[in-house]
Amino acid sequence: MRPSRTWPIHLALGVVAAVMLVPFYWVLKTSVTGENIFAYPPSLWPRHPHLYYFVDVWYYIPFVRFLLNSVVVSAIVVAANLAFNALAAYALTQPFAGKRGVILVLLSSMMIPFQATIVPAYLITKDLGLLNSRLGLALPLCSTIVNIFVFKGSFDAVPRSLIDAARIDGLREWQILWHVMLPLSTSAVATNVILSFIWSWNNFLWPLIAIRGEEMQTLPLGLSTFLSYLENTTGALYAFCVLVLAPGIALFLLEQKRFVEGLTSGATKG
């Protein structure tokens, strides 16, 4: 391809990028000005921007509580994911009787979307007494198959000689995992953290089902409840959206490459 006339491509891509970014710009603009909630025609530049809607979000609704719940649940999910997935992936790198069966079970579990399990998941969590609790919110997400295979891919790449040497040195299995495998798999660890964090942070259906009352609501649930109280009548709703989107966007910008690779490895639902 001759790299001569590239401006039509830039034009087309510019249009596409603009269309994709307009919703962001629009919500950001409204969160600092509150126009276009009632005013028409809409203006392109923000007039009289101010940060008071963010103050409203902080005080008018239990935003801090929602934030806390989301953070705690996500922390549990990320920690559990790292632990459970690394353990499981390490086990899967060893030969053992029944390994085929386990892998088959895991692969077929991958075909069961969470949405197909909501009724029993609710009943199970109820029987466990974990409804309306942060642990109950975190539990279904504590291990995901994509992440197990991410670890497994990384562990498989570790030379057997290292493992054998460690065994001969008398290290126990979990020590091998901790001292040999994980330090060599920082990339897999990072991918695990990012994917499990995003899935937990964005999760809406499960909190909607498992939480009653305001005490334990997470951010997505709080956002949706806030919406149903106030409809579109205040800029605070859009400030809430901006605050809720910020971590996801920040994480994406910080770790783009890893994000993209993690999400596309084996295809996933975000």
Partner: protein
């Protein structure tokens, strides 16, 4: 060697236990539980009684909302080919040797990792009849004279929701197709160019066939997405107006948690799962089985 033999592989099951427990509790047991519940008459207040295929009979013969939601799910699936076609075009553009390519890629992919709830709220407002940007654009372009209440109108709601869904998934498909594009060896294109093949021919004869696995992967993801897209619909329309955007998954939620008919919802879930499996199996077959392992995890 004695170390290995003495150690044995007992630790393996210990290591696998936590993950397997989570999957057993929240994937495998629910599957079975759904099936069992769907043939029972059960509620939290009464003990179970066997109901045979009553729920299925009600679903297939007496429940219009079920058929409506099934139809809506199929219609919603058309968002996949549309998104794939658009993403293909964008991927081809981004793949060109231009500067700032990473910037474009980031800008277009940005919509994917976002919370669907927030995305739904943003689009709800963009579609607003009086102050929405979309109506403003349409009116300014002279296409309509007054705002269309997109999300409240029976005719437009589904289309509106599909547009929002396409917007969110476009970046993801683009990235998958881009990876596929970049795995096509340049020599093929160069050889074809030397042989006199034009750009369109090269795309049609070389690129597209080699992209088949990636395209089918996107198709399968899109199909799974249309079965699981609860958040967006719930926030934008709640399944209305008048079930115009009620997908099977939102109907399941409604049956289970609004109408408290857990047994009926379980039957609906069984149908959803069977349908999903059948479609992805078909798509996998049609792609020649090259689409690879696909995850439907949350």
């Amino acid at each position: 060697m004695t170390y290995a033999r003495r150690r044995g592989s007992g630790f393996v099951w210990l290591f696998l236990a936590p993950s397997l427990l989570v999957f057993a509790l929240y994937r495998i047991i629910p599957l079975g539980w759904n099936a069992v519940l769907s043939v029972e008459r059960w509620s939290p207040f009464r003990p179970a009684s066997f109901a045979g295929l009553d729920h299925y009979e009600e679903m297939f013969f007496h429940d219009e909302v079920f058929w409506r939601s099934l139809w809506n799910t199929v219609v919603f699936m058309t968002s996949a080919p549309i998104a794939i076609a658009l993403a293909l075009g964008v991927a081809l553009l981004v793949n060109a040797p231009i500067r700032g390519r990473a910037l474009y890629r980031a800008a277009i992919f940005l919509s994917y990792p976002l919370m669907p709830v927030a995305v739904g709220i943003i689009w709800r407002w963009l579609y607003d009849e009086k102050v929405g940007l979309i109506n403003y654009g349409l009116i300014s372009a002279g296409l309509i004279s007054r705002g269309i209440p997109f999300l409240e109108s029976f005719e437009w709601a589904m289309l509106a929701v599909i547009v929002a869904a396409v917007w969110q998934i476009l970046g993801f498909f683009m990235v998958i197709l881009l990876a596929g594009l970049q795995s096509i060896p340049r020599e093929l294109h160069e050889a074809a160019a030397i042989d006199g093949a034009g750009r369109a021919q090269r795309i049609g004869r070389i690129t597209l066939p080699l992209l088949r696995p990636a395209i089918f992967l996107c198709l399968i993801i899109g199909i799974i997405n249309s079965f699981t897209s609860f958040d967006l619909i719930y926030v934008m329309t709640r399944g209305g107006p008048n079930y115009a955007t009620e997908l099977l998954i939102t109907y399941i939620y409604r049956a289970a948690f609004t109408l408290t008919r857990f047994d009926y919802a379980a039957a609906l879930t069984v149908v959803l799962f069977v349908f999903l499996l059948a479609l992805t199996w078909l798509a996998n077959r049609a792609s020649g089985g090259e689409a690879g392992a696909v995850e439907a995890a949350e």
